[in-house]
Subunit: 225 residues, 2 copies
DNA sequence: TCACGAGTGTCAGGTCGCTGACAAAGTCGG
DNA sequence: CCGACTTTGTCAGCGACCTGACACTCGTGA
């Protein structure tokens, strides 16, 4: 029950509208909760999606490619959902999903998801907002990576992905986020540590001097013609 | 009138549902048509979006960054729409839009757009599909660019953006699509031409041997764990 | 039809990031 | 508390891509 309310809150972050008690019952009936340990696979690329996932805690990485060229498209955090797009477009999952930390997710069967959002326009609107927000994020990622030296890419990804000024991922994970190689990323990270901008631990990066990191990231504030 | 029907067809490509005659009247009342010459600016990054644009003909490039680091996030083609995301998220335009060819666009004021889609659920659903489709495309672009050698990136972009086996853009534009520099891209293109895969002209690339280009692009067919 | 701007072709030199490898340090289950 | 595994730190060599430049060709508008 409480889970259903939480899902309703999270779809379309920041918005406030609630579900009615009857909605909650409807949701809770089909809503299942699944725990994943770090490294567990949530779904695999190439399969048709049968359910929509909502992250409750932890973080889930979306992986594309294989072997050394495996790349992380995005990291899902609590409140994020996935599987809806490939369901909507009736396509196979274009990426695999894997827990980057011990995580808890909710699973909604496709049919239920569609029914729910078909019946409740204001919920559908928040869904639309959620998808739009992911699109904006994905495009921002393109801007952050295209034609930018690795030192800046690393700074940007640290700033973007850090929660409470901490990044609980291995440097190999950071490299996969950038489509770069671990030794190259390590060189940048070591340099940032020596300069006192971050603190590096085992599978952990902590932000010490956020302002300096922002300078390092060197984002354009405005894009002039 | 005919314009309004066209917009209804295009939102959410491939779907067939029509608007009712009254919808058409409603749309046509506020729908304006604007012509752009190559190089004309449609909207500028940093501004709040006041309207949603639908491309009727030609192509519109979405640019981020400034000067030599200007990068193309996406190329809008007939049927594509833009401006809706930043309206929905109530944010400033994160990129500028500029005509890459002589183009014709339709403009819908935000208010009308919201009203239309609020009143017509099946239209709203196709809008959702359109946004989801753009998200999938944006993510595919990340996969196509991250950690991939330039020779493959160029082949992929030619295959993806070509219409009728032709790409009517300058090599500088192709370079901006990749976040790479023109001389580097030119080297790859010259090589492809020498090998007979493409034909290069003034502001034009034609695909000759699509199969060989696909091989050159070297995309992973499936992503294994 | 001529001049100018836009686009293409090319190059030498420099730098950045990759390759492949190895040692050292941290973590965790048994 | 030990051994296996994961993660970090580092390096030399190399290749890919960038920098900045210049000549040449193609359109286009006066």
């Amino acid at each position: 029950m409480r889970q259903a309310a939480w899902v309703a809150r999270c779809v379309g972050r920041g918005s406030v509208p609630h579900l009615s008690p009857s909605d909650l019952e409807l949701l809770a009936a089909e809503l299942s909760t699944v725990r994943f340990s770090r490294g567990d696979v949530v779904f695999v690329a190439g399969q048709m999606s049968t359910a929509v996932w909502v992250v409750r805690s932890g973080s889930i990485g979306l992986f594309a490619g294989a072997g050394a060229d495996r790349v992380i498209l995005s990291i899902l955090r609590p409140g994020d959902l996935d599987g809806d797009v490939s369901m909507l477009l009736n396509m196979a999952q274009p990426y695999s999903a894997e827990a980057l930390e011990d995580s808890i997710c909710h699973r909604l069967d496709n049919e239920l998801f569609v029914k729910m959002f078909g019946q409740h326009p204001e919920l559908a609107r928040r869904w639309l907002t959620a998808v739009a927000s992911r699109l904006a994020t994905s495009q921002q990622r393109l801007v952050d990576l295209l034609g930018v030296p690795l030192a800046q890419q690393v700074a940007r990804v640290i700033l973007d992905e850090a929660v409470d000024d901490e990044l609980p991922y291995s440097q190999a994970t950071v490299a996969a986020l950038l489509g770069a190689r671990r030794p190259s990323v390590n060189k940048v990270i070591s340099d940032l540590q020596r300069r006192g901008l971050i603190d590096v631990g085992y599978r952990s990066i902590k932000v010490i001097d956020a302002a300096a990191l922002v300078a390092q990231a060197g984002r354009q504030t405005a894009a002039r013609t």
